[in-house]
């Protein structure tokens, strides 16, 4: 098994773990953290696609790598918006959790 | 010459790794936050310094060597000052010990 496949399996577990955290934590901040875990997992998938495409003297395919950089910036922007939404929720209601519908 | 430089590198990097280990042992064994802080920052910064020293023997060119030293100086400066802040936070009731 190559290192790329190893990290690919790692990213598969990471996406599952992140999704689990996103679904099961009532605290919004924990959901945001879990969302970032999913993001990292997805970026790692792109990363192994890039690594497997190493050719022409490059250690990895630069196109998926460039997509990851774009993705990281957008993930940061959405995290920042989510955090400010949470802070607003806290100021308005004094709560930091989303109640479950059960 | 090559062999001598490689030997020096192994010696210095090995010593550096040892200090990282020492830092962690201190962290596990020391009883309170402030002394753990001692163990951690001093040993780790020394460990990093030794590793940088070891890598200097392998450095290609002056700029690469200066950059390595720069990384260490930056870590030292940041570490020393940030540790001061940690210690204050700990003293102001960060730890019940």
């Amino acid at each position: 098994m190559s290192a790329a496949t190893l990290y690919g399996l790692c990213s598969a577990v990471l996406i599952g773990l992140g999704l689990f955290g996103l679904l099961t934590h009532p605290q919004v901040l924990r959901k945001i953290l879990a969302f970032n875990l999913i993001g990292t997992g997805v970026f790692l998938l792109f990363g192994i696609a890039a690594r497997r495409g190493a050719a022409a003297g490059f250690g990895g395919d630069p196109v998926p790598q460039a997509l990851i950089i774009t993705g990281l910036v957008v993930a940061f922007a959405s995290t920042a918006v989510a955090v400010s939404l949470l802070l607003r929720l806290f100021q308005e209601t004094g709560r930091t959790t989303l109640p479950s519908d059960e | 010459m090559r062999l001598l430089l490689d030997g020096l590198t192994i010696l210095a990097v090995g010593a550096g790794a040892f200090f990282f280990l020492a830092g962690t042992v201190g962290l596990l064994r020391f009883p309170d936050t402030l002394s753990r802080l001692h163990a951690l920052t001093k040993a780790d910064n020394l460990g990093l310094g030794l590793i940088v020293l070891g890598l200097l023997f392998q450095a290609e060119g002056l700029f690469a060597a200066l950059k390595l030293i720069g990384v260490w100086l930056l870590t030292l400066l940041a570490g020393a000052t940030v540790t001061q802040l940690f210690a204050r936070a700990a003293r102001n009731g960060g730890s019940p010990e």
Binding site: Y7, F20, P26, A49, V63, L67, I69, V73, T97 | -
Partner: protein
């Protein structure tokens, strides 16, 4: 390979910990540690540009943002740390997530051999951009529209954040911590670290054309240093209504867009660069773009206006 297995286990271990810790603050610290290990993984995957972005943005700035939020919400979070959804929901969520993980893992194992790659095309066309590092070449030429829109996304995110402010605070100043905890040491750190950091940020931006680095990585470091100076109380953030601030925010995408339009005339397509001075044009875009990105990132960290402008 042994190192890769170890790094993979470390990543997964930290991820499990982040999801399962009760204390939110501890989870945020673990996230910073997680980002650091992921940075090492990017180096192992021969993606140093991505490693730089992860170290600066994914771990550093995002970590700082989440830590800041969790300390601000520490009391409320501690009160709800025991709150959990019911066992049925947790179990079914675990099942669904395990299925999704298994499906992705199967996909990873069944990836086609040999892997499809665009690397040869990049190698064949990189000379036309005048750059030596393939990533900025892809970001600024082949996928230039993505990059332009990405900066627009940053500005839109900032607008979304600002619009969360109550009406009377619109065009006010972002939240600022009290002077508590701010003292000589913090001032000293900021005075010492900020100039060094600005230098490193410019260095990372500048080497981008020949080695890993570039506008996003450089801008992130600049943004972090701006926030550091604000935290230390050396300079306050400007009110949102400042004209210069808004000019800095839009100048990068504006120059980018203008040169893109000029591409119709000089190279026959939107964002086309004539090969003879492609590098000069890309640099002309990148310098204002770095300033705009740095300002947008710093303001996203600072948050919506919460104080009225004096």
């Amino acid at each position: 390979m042994a190192l890769d297995i170890f790094l993979g286990l470390l990543v997964l271990g930290l991820a499990v910990w982040i999801v399962s810790t009760r204390d939110t603050l501890a989870a945020a610290v673990e996230f910073v540690a997680f980002g650091l290990v992921v940075t090492l993984v990017w180096v192992r995957l021969a993606a140093p540009d991505v490693a730089l972005t992860e170290a600066a943005l994914g771990s550093g700035l995002t970590g700082g943002l989440l830590l800041g939020a969790s300390t601000r919400l520490a009391r409320a979070e501690t009160a709800t740390s025991g709150e959990r959804h019911g066992a049925v929901l947790r179990l079914s969520a675990a099942g669904v997530c395990a299925l999704i993980s298994a499906a992705i893992a199967a996909l990873v194992i069944l990836l086609p051999e040999p892997a499809p790659t665009l690397a040869p095309e990049v190698a064949a066309n990189i000379a036309a951009t005048g750059l030596e590092n393939p990533l900025p070449a892809v970001l600024m030429a082949y996928r230039a529209i993505d990059t332009l829109l990405e900066v627009v996304v940053l500005l839109l995110a900032l607008l979304a954040m600002w619009s969360l402010a109550p009406d009377h605070l619109w065009s006010g100043l972002p939240w600022r911590p009290d002077a508590v905890g701010r003292d000589g040491v913090l001032t000293f750190v900021a005075q010492l670290l900020a100039p060094v950091g600005i230098l490193v940020g410019i260095h990372i931006f500048w080497i981008g054309s020949v080695a890993p680095g570039g506008e996003f990585q450089g801008a992130t470091i600049l943004a972090a240093m701006w926030i550091l100076v604000t935290m230390a109380g050396l300079r306050d953030m400007p009110p949102m209504s400042r004209r210069w601030l808004r000019v800095v925010l839009v100048i990068g995408p504006a120059v980018f867009f203008a040169i893109g339009l000029a591409g119709f005339a000089i190279a026959g397509s939107f964002l086309g660069y004539p090969p003879s001075y492609a590098k000069q044009l890309i640099l002309t875009i990148e310098i204002p773009l770095t300033l705009s990105i740095a300002a947008a990132l710093a303001l996203l960290i600072a948050g919506p206006p919460e104080r009225a402008a004096q």
